[in-house]
Symmetry: none
Subunit: 240 residues, 2 copies
Amino acid sequence: MAQHHPQPWYSWEPHMSLHHHHHYQHLYRAEQEEGRYEREHMFEKPLTPSDVGKLNRLVIPKQHAEKYFPLGGDSGEKGLLLSFEDESGKTWQFRYSYWNSSQSYVLTKGWSRFVKEKRLDAGDVVLFERPRLGGDRLYIGCRHRGGNDSPSPAQATTVPAAAGPWSPGYYAATCSYPTSSSCFSSAKQDCLLHAGDQRNGAIQSETEAPTTSKRLRLFGVDLDYQPEPRPDPMPSISWV
Amino acid sequence: MAQHHPQPWYSWEPHMSLHHHHHYQHLYRAEQEEGRYEREHMFEKPLTPSDVGKLNRLVIPKQHAEKYFPLGGDSGEKGLLLSFEDESGKTWQFRYSYWNSSQSYVLTKGWSRFVKEKRLDAGDVVLFERPRLGGDRLYIGCRHRGGNDSPSPAQATTVPAAAGPWSPGYYAATCSYPTSSSCFSSAKQDCLLHAGDQRNGAIQSETEAPTTSKRLRLFGVDLDYQPEPRPDPMPSISWV
DNA sequence: TACGCAACCTGGGTA
DNA sequence: GTACCCAGGTTGCGT
């Protein structure tokens, strides 16, 4: 289950060096107190242009979707409503469903509002977490590419390309985790999310990652890519 | 109730000047005989590109829908089947329902066939009438923009823009009523249409037009716009 | 397979 | 600012 980094190296552990300078510091403190490190990283996804564009949907890579958000029985029909909370304590509800046409899992309703409020751009990263010891709360966060966190009113340091060149190299650069950014917090999931009872056989076989995958697929947007030995949270490694 | 033009100026009263030259004349005659001027204009809508496009649905502006086609109780669930008849005596059935998602009233099933057969284009106008003295017959008609009526096999005088620039100005121009066109007749409504028992309170207040409305709203697409004193049917006024 | 159709969603405009 | 329309989209089912 664990993304084979039980203690995710990019980390939500508060790095003072990252957070002491902005107003979210107290939030991270509070989180430490009330349940320290109880969150487990599920997965994250570097956002594609489509994810932040007019399609108003986030494609969730199949292996993650089936592992963490299995759609069972009746929920397979209409999908479910998933609730997450972000760093500010705000609750975000997304409709989560499977699209037969594209054979993919997506977050639809609600997603565009998240993109807008967080000022997400292609290359930014969304993260999903849950309580380490079970429980049904879900957490969502994001990291702006370039790591130059600024949840300020001004345009969130969107990096050079506002009219973004979504070139291969650009995307790859994007997938480095240079500096963490802002968004994250604790959440409450108020809707069902049965872990068992999958929709079809294919899921079962996906439930445990078959390979010690290094998946890449660059433009096919997969980017699982666990760079094997990552001794310590030293997030400013970038690879091209 | 009356759109405050009991005798609609654009008129279904047979104007020989408009109709004497084509083969629908006898129909208009017949209508005169069997119940002269007994039809009451309900409303009309200039068609948007979506109304005639692949979406296969006609959005009925809310105030008209709730006034003339209230969806009550059980009919609110699945909508109703409305039957209209056109100028040729042909009966058209449409599924009429309310879409929660967009909070709008729509004609769905059957609509695309009407569009196709009448060769409707964006900018053309559909009209809805009913018997003036009550009764449950409904009538549907249309007017081609440019007024150059031609229910001929050839492309119905679609005016300049076939690959239509649906620009504001274009749309506005469209809403002038230059010359009436072809389609209209008497119909039989074979399905329930309870005039009472509205879906919500808002309807009641709409029942009588509050203002001596000259509604315009140009791009908001309303165009109720009865140009007050219209002494005689002189339909070739166009305003931009 | 392709299309009609039911239901859903969102942005932009408006009031 | 906020709430509401509605034009223009989407998915997915059925035929």
